[in-house]
Subunit: 345 residues, 4 copies
């Protein structure tokens, strides 16, 4: 089958590669001509503009947009709306906000153009492992694209079958799901990322507690110098908490047990935030997912204004003067830390 691909970053490029490897055809465009050239050398057909890309595709066309969520995706899909013909379909495979999908699909529908949103997971491993895809859109369009999804998905592989799934959609076990109408794909992907944040933070806090189990302020009999790499490794084997994320932690800690290269500054992307917004709209308590998001926000501030407000109050009622800079981190923990101070308030 033939697919147009716009955006040849790590995700877009590898999706094309995986398609080519399965015998599909791809017409590719990126604002960076070198990215186009690279994929042409691997068998794709190159386009120098959106217009060219559209012209080189045989109707009914399928054009996959794999760009950063936000303005670039928005503009590109608007332009495609001008260039494509009725019965063509735009696929947004990026991390778009699901409400944007609903709006865009309605706009394209006025011109008879279809829209499918695909939450695409797999990261840098997708080329090799395949991509997990959560798809929203009208059934006929999703079915028409089935060969593309089947080629990109991991397939059943060696992952154990879940019992009692007889009679259910077999595509799911291949690694792609038609989750519902337009927006459903990105909604499910959004929650996937929300969960991802929560899982990551749970592991992170656990390892932080292990790491600080040797704080000098703890009583001596209560200090442990743990080998975190070994702990991560042993948990991969027969415990309750093995996961792919734990595999990654084990690998990182085996490489460097103190994770020296990392600053501790952690980005977040839109999905984590939208997940909390969705929880609030639905009145669903989501403490853990929210705490995970806020931990990232906090990681990017040297100090918050909130903290200064706290110190100002403490000085106001108790005359407490906070230290003016970070003390020796070794002195952070435990009861011994509580410095003599005669002013209970």
């Amino acid at each position: 089958m033939q697919l147009g691909m716009i955006g040849l970053g790590r995700m877009g490029g590898n999706i094309v590669r995986r398609l080519l490897g399965s015998g599909h055809h791809a017409v590719v465009y990126d604002k960076d001509p070198q990215a186009v050239a690279a994929l042409v050398s691997e068998g794709a057909q190159g386009a120098a503009s959106l217009e060219q890309l559209v012209q080189q595709l045989t109707p009914p066309r399928a054009v996959w947009v794999m760009l950063p969520a936000g303005a670039i995706t928005e503009t590109t899909i608007e332009q495609l709306g001008q260039l494509l013909s009725p019965d063509d379909v735009v696929i947004d495979g990026g991390n778009s906000f699901w409400q944007d999908d609903i709006r865009r699909a309605a706009a394209l529908a006025e011109r008879g153009i279809g829209y499918v949103d695909v939450g695409t997971s797999g990261g840098v491993w997708g080329l090799q492992r395949g991509y997990c895809m959560m798809i929203g859109g009208p059934k006929p369009l999703v079915d028409r694209l089935d060969p593309i999804f089947a080629a990109l998905a991991p397939g059943r592989g060696e992952i154990a079958a879940t019992p009692e799934r007889d009679g259910r959609d077999p595509r799911v076990e291949q690694g792609f799901l038609h989750a519902g109408p337009v927006g459903a794909g990105h909604f499910v992907k959004m929650v996937h990322n929300g969960i991802e944040y929560g899982l990551m933070q749970a592991y992170a806090e656990g390892f932080d507690i292990l790491k600080n189990a040797n704080a000098p302020t703890l009583r001596e009999a209560h200090r442990f110098d743990f080998d975190l790499a070994d702990i991560a490794e042993v948990w991969r084997r027969g415990s309750v908490i093995p996961s792919w994320l734990l595999d990654l932690i084990a690998a990182a800690l085996a490489r460097n047990g103190t994770l020296d290269g990392y600053s501790g500054f952690v980005e977040d992307s839109g999905e984590g935030r939208w997940t909390i917004n969705a929880a609030i709209d639905e009145a669903v308590p989501a403490e853990v997912l929210t705490a995970a998001l806020f931990a990232r926000f906090r990681s990017r501030r040297e100090h918050t204004f909130a903290e200064k407000i706290l110190s100002a109050m403490r000085e106001g009622f108790g005359g407490h003067k906070e230290p003016s800079q970070h003390p020796d981190p070794a002195q952070q923990a435990g009861p011994a830390k509580l410095k003599p101070k005669e002013d209970p308030v």
Copy 2:
């Protein structure tokens, strides 16, 4: 090798079975004679009392205690301290508090008896999959017990090797870890369970958001009826969040997509609590692990007194009368829920 086992519940019994299957010998005791008889019929040697068990073991003895954490374990280990001889070793394989290990080991050491604490993970699957073991104690004792641990551990199996582990303790890849001195095993197991709570809650909140995405109070274009079983399944395949816990969710949802049989009442055990206590001692922020614990506490209350305090304040400043009972859950979510009320306060 020969092992005494006290406590033949699901964990203790299956540990004995796995040992017998590897050619080891076991002398077993349980307060329930039928549990003893069952294992005798499978090849173990039965004892009718702690005294008998000790007599039937050849010195230097190794006695594994696999009882509920708390008073029963405490008493049993005290009794063993009276019955055992110097150079014997007591293994606490249950979910004891790590500070209890340190205290008990010191008491036994006065009589020359050794102590090893083993955090044992694997649940009902351990017989088949093997047990992940986190071990605390003196190196000579742990080494002496190596054949036992090796038989119980899962072994390398088909789990992919972590890169860059050359030169590290190969036992870890078998699924057991000598984590440090006495207490270290249960400390690591404690944090394992703390993480487990966090991971579980992260998945749980995510599925709750998916489940409530069809709340009638949401705007119509923003409602989705998701098939949660299929979502769990597709995430097992190529996404960022596969794990054993997700496998279990996928299986449960495939069986019953609305989880009808479950009340929503969720127990917690000591480890989750002790993990938070440890975080507090170390001054480590652990938002996610704590929120996961508190969600369980809350699940077991019909209402909290805190909530009544809130309502009392709301009535005090705004004259708000809260509904006297749970309204139609279908009316819970979203902005439409906000009933006309003319009293901004």
Copy 3:
């Protein structure tokens, strides 16, 4: 000065009463003619429709809309936009979303009509204590309305002056603040309510801990039967945590120490939710305000689906069967609660 008032609920009605008491004039409208009649009997001029209300006001008119946030406010302001003349001003004194203010003000500006948003706090006590007002809009309009705000505000009263405020806007000490351009008033009111939720939850959790200090599962020497009414009262006097909210708690507990009349079901309104959305937009960690919101969400569910997911996992890995109903609440707390269970996982 003359003011039109639309919406004569507890807030709107009392605002009119307070204005009348200060010698101002009011033309009032409500869809309920009895509400209009009541205020007419107290000196207001009644209107039977929006049209009448507009006709009875002398240009340049000032019309205060005091309706529930949402559709009713929206429609009413749209209608006023058709009826009013250039240089008139609409005041939204309800709990509107601040982004709606910006949109509405822009629409009215096209017809030369002004818009001022007023976050109004004070609840059922406002008539007597005065209203705290947070105001957004263009300076000339806010200044024009100054006599209205001055009459509604509490005035300096007996509240101690804050030091070092010389040279600052004296209106603030009267209890009203021109916070910024359109939207600023409701933004500040929104955060006020967000903080309100956090404060309330902090007190609520503290009293819950006191209340449960006598749980039978705690060790006997560690149980206390506290008199919560007396504790609330003593904290009002010389402690660090006196507040108006604490006054309300003290009063409620003096009336009934177990708060028997309250179900524990707690509503929330839009401001608490929007506060968290704002925090997320700004990447500001807001753990406490969010937790306070989620506690209310949780209070309105008998159980969450998340909790059932937890139980399903627990059964999956450990064979744990959760109790099918709420146990005796007296059995909830403490370590003794941890029932014998031989399956550490």
Copy 4:
């Protein structure tokens, strides 16, 4: 009445001053002779050692210990146990852990010496405003000390009476409460401080959201430059959230609207931690109080190890490289922050 005072820091010294001002007598000791001399010059009787202090007091003696919680208090009370006579009473007015009270009282009881624990609140303002006291101990002892407590308490002052308190202990309205047996005083004070942390954090987060409402990454129409000092001030007047803590914030912001002198490093003391431990023991969810504590922990770390774990995972699955240092804080917030990145995972 005569009181011995050990520990003449800000709290102990001012307590003596307030007693002297009410016509009571004090024998004072501090390891710093200058502190003793200062109070002697104000009318107290000085002692050069614990022994002297005991000798100078007329039996039955009352000795108030006002030292930092922990080792110093522990040792001092042990020494007093050797020096005092039956029927004497030790008062621990510091911030001791309530379980320590129970243990100490039992030890002193063996020698016939009484023990009373007093949670003392009031901070640097106590001399002037009086101290709020939460008292644990046997009724006869507490009654015997009534003149001391009455002199230290604020008295009814101008604080409005709570309705429906007829027939209740009138001492509570003076500002001191006999909360229960030994330990009860410090338990109530502990929860007071736990609530204090929660309240403080609620205000702090709210002001942080206001402060960041002008982040350049927000859409222009959605930015506000708020005057935080004025907002704090207006909320003191007629809103729902006035409190003494808000008074302190208003004063600090009036002095310096950006709180320049504060580092953002925030200490915590034992009570906040013990409050969470108590909640956990009682199985009471206490999200807000815990989040407030963790925010302080986090404020004292440049980065957590948890954050590095997050970055290691992000690099593992997505190839994401986190920035190596804090970016321009002005670039932190909002959707525009989400940098183009083509790798949805």
